[in-house]
Symmetry: C2
Subunit: 371 residues, 2 copies
């Protein structure tokens, strides 16, 4: 491999919750390795949150200090460098300011805010603003790719930047990258997957007794499910991931609202336990299939045979069965999901961008060529 | 994506058996798609076989005619263009001749000969000769990467060409590409896999009754297993695939002979059936794990719990569980293996080479940069 200079990426963190902070610590853990293996150094020059303030520092923000500030209820605004102007009023202003202050280095917006599944907001607005400002975007949010992938991709292509969202489905497992980079000439005919943790847990609890509501209440009492688990229980999370897969992997155009959706909220425990007695299991299955020029997508509880590769998935295990023309069925399974995996997906997207920048053309806006 | 001219690859087929011929027909099936999506055209300028003759034609050999010739017991030598000199005496001579006749286009040797697992020959010699002649190499053979991956990789790097062998493990499922391209910064700690079809079939037959020898004899009588199934039964095929994975995915240095190996030949049917009665299954498992600076690798029959992702694999289904530092366990499963999948692995490697050649540097020997 020809020796390459280390390229410095200027990162802008939009959102600094659990995922954003784990991304920050992972970046620190992998610093030496990134420099050595991918000739990549990262400097976080901006951070924008909804409740903890905003800050810009072109010399690099100390993310350890930022994490402590957020943990202690302080404001990130105390880290802001006034030489860059007054503290920006909001995320859009911060993104625009950093474009104005740009020093010609690749700038990457790392988007990890909390999502409204139906609208894709506020992630969608953040992504649009970032691309308009000439920044690459990596996001753990399902929203943008679920709601407006074709529009965003076209805008990114026109701006000569990348839009990557590996973490949106199966956390850090490279399902999108797999289909994009390692299956050339293969046509994805459809898929079936178990893509949501909470419903896995609830269905397993139902197998032991009770109905969905009781199982959920018990999990919430023990702290295993969030107070508002309706996004999971009603299938919205799975529908958003289904839309991402349809849009990114199958080249379709859909939205979470257009995915036929049946949650597990109405499931009677007896039906789940009866399936087990017959050697089967009920899972919330996300699926899509091509029919001519259209793609039908649905999320629903499905009774699976014990030998089905989706039947044995419990807890944080998720999997997707891709149906292909040339290779038949391929299954990719995540046995252990979690915050580190999600943060890793963001890191992998950064490295993908680094690799797409040839050594003599390091700046965005030139010729990145989505391959 | 910037418009790129179609690049023509000159292919040299070394071996023209079942895999080579399916590759030829797949190339024809995908011709328009390759030109459109990857700006790639392929012309087969040479073919070398051990028993069906050799031929060179710089204008392109007709592979349909070549297939008919082989099927009818004819010699490929009848396709040879005498303007390129006398028919070459052997594969090495053909590879060297094509290097001399080279027209500056990327030349790719597609190696699909029959393998001696212990020595890796004759594939190993073919690969060395191809790289020495300045050609890229793609091979469905396990031998070269199992026996001498470090040496071959270094030679390919020095020559500015690529050596790719995706088909060697799990046929066309991109397990090597997955680890190389889509898991940056992830360390593979080890793996467990079911990677051989024949032993899957034999073990399933044993579950229904009989010992290994009887099950194999029945399969051979029905045409489901080759007359010499010892490579499979004694675990050599799995050991070779294990060595490929250790060398390519884990960066180790081993050989099939160095893999601890216990076949299924000595298995008593009663042990297999007893496992089933206890809700378990016996599978031939290929595994490797890092211990400090060393990697221990072994192939052996293992009793698996029913919930193990490897337990439900039957027939042509194969799978590998990768243990990683950042992502925990990832499983990739091929549900349907076959000749098309193997041929596809070769095609995917071709496309990988095409993508690694930037539009303004189309010739090999320049700066390919293994990324």
């Amino acid at each position: 491999m020809p020796m390459r200079d280390v390229s410095t990426f200027e990162l802008v963190l939009v959102g600094f919750g659990h995922v954003g902070r784990r991304f920050a610590s992972l970046l620190a853990e992998c610093r030496e390795q990134l420099e050595r293996d991918d000739h990549l150094a990262c400097r976080v020059v901006g951070v924008a949150t909804g409740r903890h303030g905003l800050a810009i520092d072109l010399d690099g923000l100390d993310l350890g200090v930022a994490t402590d500030l957020v943990a202690s209820g302080g404001s990130l605004a105390t880290l802001h460098d006034p030489d860059t102007g007054a503290p920006p009023a909001d995320t859009q202003a911060l993104i625009a300011r950093l474009a104005d202050l740009g020093q010609g280095r690749p700038r990457i917006v790392v988007e990890t805010t909390t999502l409204d599944v139906a609208s894709g907001e506020p992630a969608l607005s953040h992504v649009r603003a970032a691309i308009a400002s000439g920044a690459h975007v990596v996001t753990a949010n399902k929203g943008p790719a679920a709601v407006a992938y074709a529009e965003i991709s076209a805008a990114a292509d026109a701006a000569g930047v990348r839009f990557l969202t590996e973490s949106a489905v199966l956390d850090g497992i490279p399902i999108l990258n797999l289909a994009r980079e390692t299956l050339p000439a293969v046509r994805i005919i459809g898929f079936r997957g178990v893509v949501n943790w909470t419903t896995n847990h609830i269905l397993a609890a139902m197998e032991q007794g009770g109905d969905a509501d009781e199982a959920l209440a018990a999990m919430q009492a023990e702290g295993f499910a969030e107070a508002d688990a309706s996004l999971d229980v009603e299938g919205w999370d799975a529908a958003a991931k289904t839309a991402v897969l349809v849009n990114v992997v199958m080249g379709g155009r859909t939205t979470p609202a257009a995915v036929e959706r049946t949650g597990i909220g109405g499931l009677i425990g007896e039906r789940v336990r009866d399936a087990v007695r017959r050697g089967k299991r009920v899972k919330l299955v996300a699926a899509a299939a091509r029919h001519g020029d259209t793609i039908a997508a649905a999320v629903a509880p499905v009774e699976l045979n014990a030998t089905d590769p989706l039947a044995q998935l419990d807890g944080q295990s998720n999997a997707i069965v891709l149906a292909t023309d040339l290779l038949g069925e391929i299954v990719i399974t995540q046995r252990d999901g979690g915050l580190t995996q999600t943060a890793y997906g963001l890191l992998a997207d950064l490295i993908t961008i680094r690799r797409s920048l040839s050594p003599d053309r390091p700046a965005p806006g030139t010729s990145l060529g989505r391959r």
